[in-house]
């Protein structure tokens, strides 16, 4: 006669723990794999804008980031940005510098192009259009979502690289040239690849496209 063996309480606890662990493991595996799962996608065609001529659409893997440009604050910088957007120069350009919950930076047209990335020089590339003067005198509040032109340690070295901040950065006022603000889809930028130990990203995410709403 076969004796029925009953599991002890400890064995039941361990078994339950293993089952819970397995659920979390497989559950998170599928959730983490789809980093865009909880990201809302915005269709600019379905939104009414006050000034559609100053709306730029940055498309990344998880959707659209809609940026309003401020030519009245930084006329030269916005002019340069629009020029590069219209020439599709930002397409397939890496988000080479990303700090989690702080900022994403892209726009190195020389060393950040998909398929032709130079990790040794990324962040130092030029557009070929020359540098422009910093426009830092107008009051501007660098709140979460602000878009600015990156520069070297010196002023008047803005070219094509831009950053978008993911948190308020009051010290950026008078330091960096503002070009606009993200008005929809900022959460999309939270999905851009970053590294824990470095601001510069190995095998980075790329801009799919960057277009003006009205050409």
């Amino acid at each position: 006669m076969i004796k029925k063996i009953r599991a002890s309480n400890l064995e039941k606890i361990i078994f339950t723990f293993i089952v819970i662990l397995a659920i979390f493991f497989f559950g998170s595996f599928f959730l983490i794999k789809d980093k865009c799962l909880f990201i809302k996608s915005y269709d600019p065609q379905k939104i009414n804008f006050d000034n559609p001529k100053n709306i730029a659409i940055l498309n990344v893997t998880c959707g659209n980031v809609i940026i309003e440009l401020y030519p009245e604050i930084s006329p030269e910088a916005v002019k340069r940005f629009k020029e590069l957007v219209r020439s599709k120069a930002y397409d397939d350009i890496a988000f080479h510098r990303v700090i989690k919950d702080t900022l994403v930076q892209a726009g190195d047209l020389e060393f950040g192009k998909k398929g032709n990335i130079d990790y040794g020089k990324i962040g130092t590339g030029k557009s070929g259009l020359g540098t422009i003067n910093s426009e830092v005198d107008s009051p501007f509040s660098f709140d979460k979502g602000s878009v600015g032109f990156a520069r070297t340690q010196k002023y008047n070295t803005e070219d094509s690289q831009f950053f978008i901040i993911l948190r308020d950065e009051p010290l950026y006022e008078t330091e960096y040239t503002p070009i606009g603000k993200v008005i929809y889809g900022l959460e999309t930028l939270g999905t851009i690849k970053y590294l824990d130990k470095s601001q510069y990203v190995l095998r980075p995410d790329f801009i799919n496209s960057l277009r003006m709403l009205v050409n």
Binding site: K100, D101, T102, L103, P170, L171
Partner: protein, 244 residues
């Protein structure tokens, strides 16, 4: 059971090990670590930062400064702000000064110093515990070094040196001499203080700082009068609205 507990311990430990690197905006801007914002809503847009922890700077790590108690910081900030508020936003922009770092026991190569100006990084580090007797004057003294560094061509040391009597010679550097006294001479002979006699730039800074704190200009010797005129006229070349 023992292995099971080890596994749990490993999982908990890993949560602490794999933490994120934090972004330090202030470090990215002025390359000084361990600082926090003290006050940035100021009339002339100066940004006051304070040492949250001690920091070390320089290629040879020879610049050190330490964090202060909040009570002292609050006390000294009022004095510093009152003095620095005398400089307009326009003037500060011209001389390239934007960040004031507050800390204590500031030293370079173990030699205590009141301040370290760096016009390239737009920063002035101030030792808030520096000599109480001359604290306010020293603030302006350090500001002058920023002015001087930004406008070297205006404050020509050879021109300045010629104001002195022929026999006089400055030391090669401010720490290459034992002329360190900061008290103001009652009877001046071309210099406001002993420290004025260390180098030409320290002499200029002493003249400027004495002017800023409103020293009695009566009974000054002719050499000092010429030096004052030199400083005043050059300041007006930088900013026509500058008021001493």
């Amino acid at each position: 059971m023992c292995k099971f507990m080890s596994l749990i311990r490993l999982i908990i430990l890993s949560l602490f090990i794999f933490t994120q690197t934090q972004a330090d905006t202030i470090y990215n801007l002025i390359k000084i670590p361990n600082l926090e914002i003290y006050d940035i809503k100021t009339p002339n847009k100066l940004r006051y930062l304070y040492a949250k922890q001690p920091f070390t700077l320089g290629v040879e790590k020879n610049i050190n400064c330490y964090n202060s108690e909040k009570k002292i910081l609050d006390q000294k900030y009022k004095i510093i702000k009152k003095n620095l508020n005398r400089y307009s936003q326009e003037f500060l922009k011209k001389i390239n000064l934007k960040y004031i770092v507050l800390c204590e026991d500031l030293s370079i190569s173990n030699i205590n110093t009141a301040g370290i100006p760096d016009h390239v990084m737009k920063t002035l580090i101030l030792d808030i515990k520096f000599n109480e007797d001359y604290f306010e004057r020293v603030i302006h003294h350090e500001v002058f070094h920023i002015i001087n560094d930004s406008f070297k061509q205006l404050f020509d040391e050879d021109v300045w040196s010629k104001f002195n009597v022929k026999e006089f010679e400055y030391a090669e550097c401010s720490t290459c001499t034992d002329k360190l006294g900061l008290s103001t001479y009652i009877r001046t002979k071309g210099f406001f203080s002993e420290y004025s006699q260390s180098t030409a730039s320290e002499d200029m800074a002493e003249v400027f700082s004495h002017l800023m704190i409103g020293v009695n200009l009566n009974n000054l010797d002719p050499i000092l009068k010429r030096k004052i005129q030199f400083i005043k006229s050059n300041l007006l070349k930088i900013d026509q609205n500058f008021i001493l």
